[in-house]
Every structure is written in C-alpha cells, then in structure tokens.
C-alpha cells in the first residue's frame, strides 16, 4: 500500500477498514441506548414487578461487562499500533510469564463477579422464584399448539363452573399479585410477556407456579418462546391489566356467560378466535 504524504507512515494497512469497523461498532452500541424504548416486548422497559427486578439485575451485570469489553478492545487496538513490527525491530524479550500477575488476574475477576453479579443475584432468584402469595389472584395458563388457554378459577357461574378462554387476552387485576400456574397440553411452550415478567416454560407433565404483578393498568404483548411446531411464530398473547373496578366488571360479565358442564359444553363462554390450531 503506497504511503502518501498525508498519511502517517506507521499506521497498519487496512486502517481505513478498521476506522469503518470502529464507527460501525460504536454506532451499533449507541443505537441501543438511543432507540425507541416503548416497543411492545422490550425486556428493558418493565411494567411489572418481576420484569423490573430482572432488568435491574441485568443493568448491574451489563455495565461491568461493557467496561471490560471496552478495555479489552481498546487495549488490543493500542497494542497492535504500539507494538507493530518495524523493519529494524529486534527480537523482543522472550517473557515467559509473571506468576503474581496470573494470580492477581484470576482472583480479582472472581471477587468482582461474585461481588457484583453473584451475590446480588441470589436473593432475587429466591424472591422471584418463590411461590405466589396465598392471596394472589389465580389463573391457570395452558399452552396448546398454537394458542394460549386461560382458566380463571375465581370467575364462576352459579353452578361453580370456571371461565376458560382460548386464544383471548389474559385479563388480570393491576396492582395485585397474580399466581400463574403454567402447563402444556402437548409440547414445550414458553409463556413470555417481557414487560411483565421473564418467560417460563410450559412443559408437558409438570406444573409451573410463578407470581407476577403489574403496576398500572395497561396492555402488554408477549409470545411463545419455545419452538413448538409450525405455528410457533403465531402463538401470541396479550395481557390486559385492569383497575379493580374494571376487572370486577369484566369478571362478572364473563361469569354470566359461562356455561356449566351439564350443558355439554364446558369450554366456557368464549371460544377460540384469532390464531387457531
């Protein structure tokens, strides 16, 4: 590569490429911060208690990770520039190692990650993974290829038959803890509504209990997170959190429509609509 008068002679070949690459990387990194945060499934824009604790932990881990990344990348670039072979170079000193340094850079990272990542995470694991409170509002979630079914044990008609909806949004009261029981009717699914809470797998033959809590009324998007066949991409869900009065009203309206087992149709008032099997 010819060296022009304008270009310093010690830059490595491909420096133009490198500049392009650096710009790209910085642009990509920056865009993460600047971009629109109010997207429907943004895991970093929590609207629920669980999602918020998950997001906070992530930020705690992310900043040190970002710092290490910048340090390593910058160090690499600096070394490539500073120690680049020149024509008159001697063979460098054949350093074999430095045991105290090795010990230091083994112990220090252990301490840092345990302190900044490991320790903070333990209480959150137990808090988010605890059983729902006894007075939490219960809903049973069933993943069925390729639609979500919700059963509300507390919305019953006169004969005690509970409401079951298929392919409809999940209605919950806002500001209150909800107890979800997650099961699957066929294959593995995963119930993920990122702005409310992280995902939880629905595995055939077992029941998953998780608690969620949404702060304010609103509508939140989610979809199945575990490959479950050809309809996987369509297996979407909406969570509608309502104020106490609105939820009460909705419950009563739904309860009135529930047909009992005796009438031969115990799939509830609302049949499958939207994405079907």
């Amino acid at each position: 590569m010819p060296v022009s008068k304008l270009r310093p002679p010690h830059l490595p070949p491909g420096h133009a490429f490198f500049a392009l690459f650096a710009l790209l990387l910085i642009g990509l990194l920056a865009s993460g911060c600047i971009g629109d945060t109010d997207t429907p499934q943004n895991t970093l824009a929590p609207e629920g208690e669980v999602a918020r604790q998950q997001r906070d932990l992530f930020m705690l881990a992310m900043w040190p990770a970002l710092a290490v990344m910048i340090f390593v990348e910058v160090a690499i670039v600096v070394m490539l520039l500073r120690f680049r072979r020149r024509k008159d170079d001697q063979i460098p000193k054949q350093t074999h190692g430095n045991t105290p340094l090795e010990i230091a850079w083994t112990i220090v990272p252990i301490v840092i990650i345990i302190a900044f990542v490991g320790v903070p995470m333990i209480p959150v694991i137990f808090e988010l993974g605890r059983d729902p409170a006894d007075d939490a509002y219960p809903v049973k979630v069933t993943g069925i290829q390729w639609v979500w079914q919700f059963e509300y044990p507390e919305i019953v008609n006169d004969e005690g038959a509970a409401l079951v909806t298929l392919g409809e949004p999940l209605h919950i009261p806002a500001g209150r803890e909800i107890a979800l029981t997650i099961v699957s009717a066929d294959v593995n699914h995963s119930f993920g509504v990122p702005r409310v809470a992280g995902t939880r797998d629905a595995i055939p033959g077992q029941e998953e209990r998780m608690w969620i809590k949404v702060d304010e009324p609103g509508s939140f998007a989610g979809q199945c997170r575990e490959l479950c066949g050809t309809g996987h991409a369509d297996m979407k869900v909406t969570v509608i959190a309502q104020s106490d009065e609105d939820f009460q009203a909705w419950s009563e309206e739904m309860a009135a429509g529930v047909r009992s087992a005796g009438t031969g149709d115990d799939s509830g008032a609302v049949s499958a609509s939207g994405s079907g099997e």
Partner: protein, 644 residues
C-alpha cells in the same frame, strides 16, 4: 527423490480385489485417497468436507436472513423455515466446527509432537468416513419429502430437538429420525477420534517432549479429546432413548406414562455444555500458537493457559442447567448453577489476559493469520461477556430463547471458533500445499468478514433485548425489530462475500501462490522444521526435544545480556533444506486399507434400514462386520505391531 511408498499387506480379504489393492498403493488417484491412512490426507479430507458443509449451512443461514429481513416475510413457509433452521444449527455445530477442528487435529498433532502418524491410522480413516456418511445421511433427509411441492423431509425440531416436540406424536415424519440417527453416527466418529488423539498425544511424543513442552494446541486437543470421550456417550444414550421412543414406542420422554420430557433436556445439555467447550478449545489452541509466532514472543503464562484449559474441561460438567433456568427446576438448583456458570468465565478470562500479555511488548506482524487470531480474541471476548450476563439467572428469564442468546453463541462460535479456524487455515494450509495464501486478499477477507459478522450479530443483542424470540419464522412490524433484522441480513450477505473471496484465494493460491518453504512465519514449533508439503513420513529423523518451542530454540539463543539473537547457521541441527531430506529410506509407514471405509459404510445403511426397511439393517450390519473383521485380521507384521 526416491521414497519408500507403503508396502501392501501380504494377505487379507482385500487382496481378492487385486486391482483395487494396486490402486490403493499408488500415491495419486482417487483410490489412494479412499484407502489412505495418512493423517495429512485425512486432515485434508476433513477440512474440505467440513468446508463444503459450511457452505451448505451458510446457504441455510442466508435463507433464514432473507426470510427475516422484513416483517411478515414469505420466502419460505413456517414448516420449511423450521427445517432449515434446524439443519443450519445442526450442520454448523456437528458438520462444520467439529470436523474443521478434527482437520487441524489430524494435520497438526503428529507434526507438533514429532510423530510420523497418529496412534491408530486406520481408526483415524474410519472416523473420517463415518463422519462423511453421517453428514450425507443427515442432509439426505431434505429430499425425503415431496421436494417438488416444497415439502422438505429434514428435521424441524431445532438443533437440540426438545421433547415432546420430538416424539412421534408431534413429529410424525422421518425428519427427527434422520436427525437422531445421523447424530448417532457422527458421535461414533467423534468418539473414535477422541480415543485416537488421547493415545497419540500421551504415547507418541518425540523423546524429550514432556507434557509441559507440548505446544498449547496439543494440550487443548488433549482436553478436547477427553471431553469427547466422556460427553459423546451421554448424547448417545439420549439419542437411543429418543429413538426407542420413536421407533419402538418406549416411554423415556412420554409424560402419559410417567416419563419426563425434561430428562431429554438434562441429558442433552449434560452433553451439550462440554460440547460447546469441545467447539471452542481447539480454536483457543490455534490462537495460542499464532499469537506467539506473530508477536515473536512465547505464549505468556503457558502453564496457566494449560491449567485454565484443564479447569474449563472439568468445570464444563457442572454448568449444564444454565440452559434450563426457565424449566422450573427450583430456586436452589438455579442459584447453584448460576454461581458455577459465573465462575466458569474466570479461566476463560485468564486465557484472554494471557493472550493480550503475549502481544504486549512483542514485535507484531499483522499478516492474515494474526488478523484472524486477534479478531478471535476481540470477538470471543464480546461473546464471553454476553455469556456472563446470561449467567445472571433472573435476567436470563428475559433473555432465554430470544435473539440475545443467538447473538451470544454466534459471537463465541463464529467470532470465536470460525475466526480461529480461518486463522489456522491461513497459518497452516501453506505447510500442506507448499504455497502461501495471498495475504492482501486475506486482509480483505478478514475485514469484510469482521464487518459483516458484527453487522449480522451485534444487532441481535438489540432485537433480543427488545423481546424477539428465537426460531420464529416471521415477526410483525409493530415490535420495533425491523431495523435490526434488516441490518443482520445485510451483514449476512457481507459474510457471504467474504467467504467467496476466501474461496477465490484458495483456488488462486493452489496454482499460483508464493512458495511457502518450510518455515514461512519464523515459527516456534516442530511442524516448521520439515518441508512444505511434508514427506509422507513427516520427519526424516524423529527429533529430540529439549525445550518448549523447540524450533525457536534451535534458531535463536540469547547473548550475554539476555537478548535473543539468531543462532549462527551451521551450528543448528540440520533440518530439511540444510542437510537435505534423504527420502526416508527404511521408514515403514502404515499401509493403506479399505476396511475403515467398508466398516464406516455400514452405519448410514443401518440407519436407513431402521427408518425404511429392516432388511437394510442386516445389509449394513454385514458390511460393518466384514469391515471390522477385515481390519482386525489384516496381518500383524513386525513393523506394524501395535497398530489398530
């Protein structure tokens, strides 16, 4: 120069095919390749085959990216999409990275330890043919559907094929059978390879080469081979269980009879996590050879890099649940594995620091091998760090099964393994072809690949954090994922352009490349002491090793002030050009043999028979028996004692 070509074995079944016998003994021609037991040829075959599968997997990736470039894509339908994504993942892991690593084990290990071949040359050939058979068998599945109406028969359950989607009830076609049987076959190849290289490395080192004088690539191969030996049986059992469920109505993963689909996940990941270290340790070994050579300094902290590799090998068995945090195993299990996962990042970090310290204070040449090696360090670090964020259990609940995970593993597997493997190709291919690859073209490929790679996978961190799940065939435009997906697609085609440039470089250089000579890079280890390409017996005289980086110590010594200076020519041990290679008279090399191929053919036939017609199982079994018996009974002559 006169050479001693391998002598035919005097007796044996293969002599019934007299003509084929004579053809195998030629040095040229396809028959000599089919019966070869020479590690260098087997390595070339592994490399070429793996590269072809890389192109196939790359095409699959491009289809995926075309489909996802814009919302509501309809290049392929959901069924086709699931099959293509399954084959993309399966191909890249099992048919590309593992065999490319195997190519380097084959090409380099005997040369680096001063041996003439591996411990079991026929077992080595067998590994290759089994791999080829398994790869073809698995890809044949594409054509088992009604291809002309767009029905592909390939597996569609994802590359780890969870239960109960994998059951006969939910995957009634043959796709999953092809997947499971194909992987079973590939597992045999990997297992055989693992055995071979452990014995080779432990037993065939040149005099004076203690374990701590071995090149680091040899150490990483040793650890990887042990991981293969212990991990492959676990997946073999899991696959048998899946196959018994599908073919014979067993209940291993059947919840109706009390079976637990999670058992599949446990077994798969118990294998799967050591597997990902199997995928990365050879790459780390390659980079640990290139960085010192192109910095003209020894690897900093060699014993610590070795111990880190060994530590990673052991610790890899204790983290598998981090693939299953969201499956409801309970808070105690999740917490314990969260901690172990955090800790496994430490030995990797130690390696990164040691690589950087190797470069520090060096005299760095930025030739193509070094660019790719440095690219590895830079990109793998990013992947490793995103991995650390995954280890945080609660946030993993948000990341699991999103594109954030896809970003992580592509950074470590592509930015990591693939970059390192390309570094190895630029570094070592000249040893075997005798010609250097064009460095300028290599630089262009590197930058195009680096830019393309980051453009493809960095945005996936964003779309993942914005909630985009994995393995969805389409997405709607109101989720905020559009821009990131478009960028990824542009990046993917940029990578494709880089690969095209690479292919052109190889083809050009094979004909017109600059002659490499025996030591084009001023190398440090034994492979650079022999001609390029090496004679079939590798070393005229097995060297005696006195130090780590033995060749460096022959070329350079230290003056009174401790500064490195070249050794005066003539005082060095004669190697290759100086004393002249005398053609290896009296060196007996292992004879070629057809039996590994014959035995290997048995497996895909048995597998096909299990799916379609049990009569074929008998045919395949017969081939296997004939192959094994012929192999075992090929006469043991005096100079061949101890071969397998």
């Amino acid at each position: 120069m006169a050479t001693e070509w391998p002598q035919p074995r005097k007796q044996g079944l293969a002599d019934a095919l007299g003509w084929a016998r004579r053809m195998a003994d030629q040095h040229y021609g396809i028959w000599s390749w089919i019966a070869t037991v020479d590690h260098k040829r087997i390595g070339i075959m592994y490399g070429v085959t793996a590269f072809l599968f890389f192109l196939a997997g790359g095409m699959e990736a491009l289809i995926i990216r075309l489909q996802l470039a814009v919302p509501d894509g309809n290049i392929v339908n959901a069924d086709q999409y699931n099959r293509i994504l399954t084959m993309h993942g399966t191909t890249m892991v099992f048919l590309v990275i593992m065999p490319l690593s195997a190519a380097f084990f084959n090409l380099m290990i005997p040369l680096m330890i001063g041996a003439r071949d591996v411990a079991f040359p026929r077992l080595n050939a067998f590994s290759y043919w089994v791999f080829l058979g398994g790869g073809i068998f698995m890809n044949a599945s594409f054509f088992t559907g009604d291809v002309f109406s767009g029905e592909l028969g390939a597996p569609d359950c994802g590359w780890f094929c969870y239960s109960t989607l994998s059951s006969k009830a939910f995957s009634p076609g043959h796709g999953v059978d092809f997947w499971a049987l194909g992987l079973q076959i590939l597992g045999i190849a990997s297992l055989a390879s693992g055995f071979n290289f452990v014995v080779t490395i432990l037993n065939l080192r040149a005099p004076g080469m203690t374990l701590f004088r071995m090149p680091l690539f040899v150490w990483m191969t040793l650890v990887t081979s042990f991981l293969l030996i212990f991990a492959m049986p676990v997946i073999a059992v899991a696959l048998f269980e899946l196959l018994f469920d599908r073919l014979f109505d067993a209940n291993f993963f059947n919840p109706d009879k009390g079976g637990n689909p999670l058992l599949w996940q446990h077994m798969f990941w118990l294998f799967g996590h050591p597997e990902v270290y199997i995928l990365i340790l050879p790459a780390m070994g390659i980079v640990s050879e290139i960085l010192p050579t192109f910095s003209r300094k020894p690897l900093f902290g060699y014993p610590f890099v070795v111990f880190s590799g060994i530590a990673i090998g052991f610790m890899s068995w204790g983290v598998w649940v981090h693939h299953m945090y969201t499956t409801g195993l309970g808070t105690a299990a999740n917490a314990a594995f969260g901690i172990s996962t955090i800790l496994i990042g430490v030995p990797t970090g130690v390696k990164v620091f040691n690589w950087m310290a190797t470069m520090w204070g060096g005299s760095i040449s930025l030739k193509a091998p070094m660019m790719f090696a440095v690219g590895f360090v830079a990109m793998f670090t990013i992947g490793g760090l995103s991995g650390v964020t995954h280890s945080v259990v609660p946030s993993d609940y948000q990341q699991q099964d999103t594109y954030y995970i896809v970003a992580h593993f592509h950074y470590v597997l592509f930015g990591g393994s693939i970059f390192a493997l390309f570094a190895g190709i630029y570094y070592w291919l000249p040893k075997f072809t005798g010609r250097l690859l064009n460095d300028t073209v290599g630089q262009i490929q590197f930058w195009l690949m680096l830019i393309g790679f980051n453009l493809t996978f960095f945005p996936m961190h964003m779309s993942g954090m914005l909630g985009m799940p994995r393995r969805i065939s389409t997405y709607s435009g109101d989720q905020g994922w559009d821009l990131w997906n478009l960028l990824s697609t542009i990046g993917a085609f940029t990578i494709a352009a880089a690969i095209l440039i690479f292919i052109i470089n190889v083809i050009y250089s094979l004909r017109r490349g600059q002659a490499a000579g025996h030591d084009p890079w001023d190398g440090r280890t034994l492979e650079w002491t022999i001609p390029s390409p090496p004679p079939h017996y590798n070393f005229e005289r097995i060297p005696t090793v006195h130090a780590r980086d033995p060749f460096w110590h022959e070329k350079y010594t230290e003056d009174a002030a401790g500064r490195p200076i070249p050794v005066i020519a003539g005082a060095a041990n004669g190697h290759g050009e100086e004393n002249g290679d005398h053609g290896g008279h009296g060196i007996h090399m292992p004879s070629p043999s057809y039996f590994p191929l014959i035995a290997a053919l048995g497996f895909p036939i048995i597998a096909t028979g299990l799916i379609y017609d049990y009569a074929l199982v008998a045919v395949g079994a017969a081939l296997l028996f004939v192959g094994i018996y012929g192999w075992a009974l090929e006469p043991v002559t005096e100079e061949e004692e101890g071969h397998a």
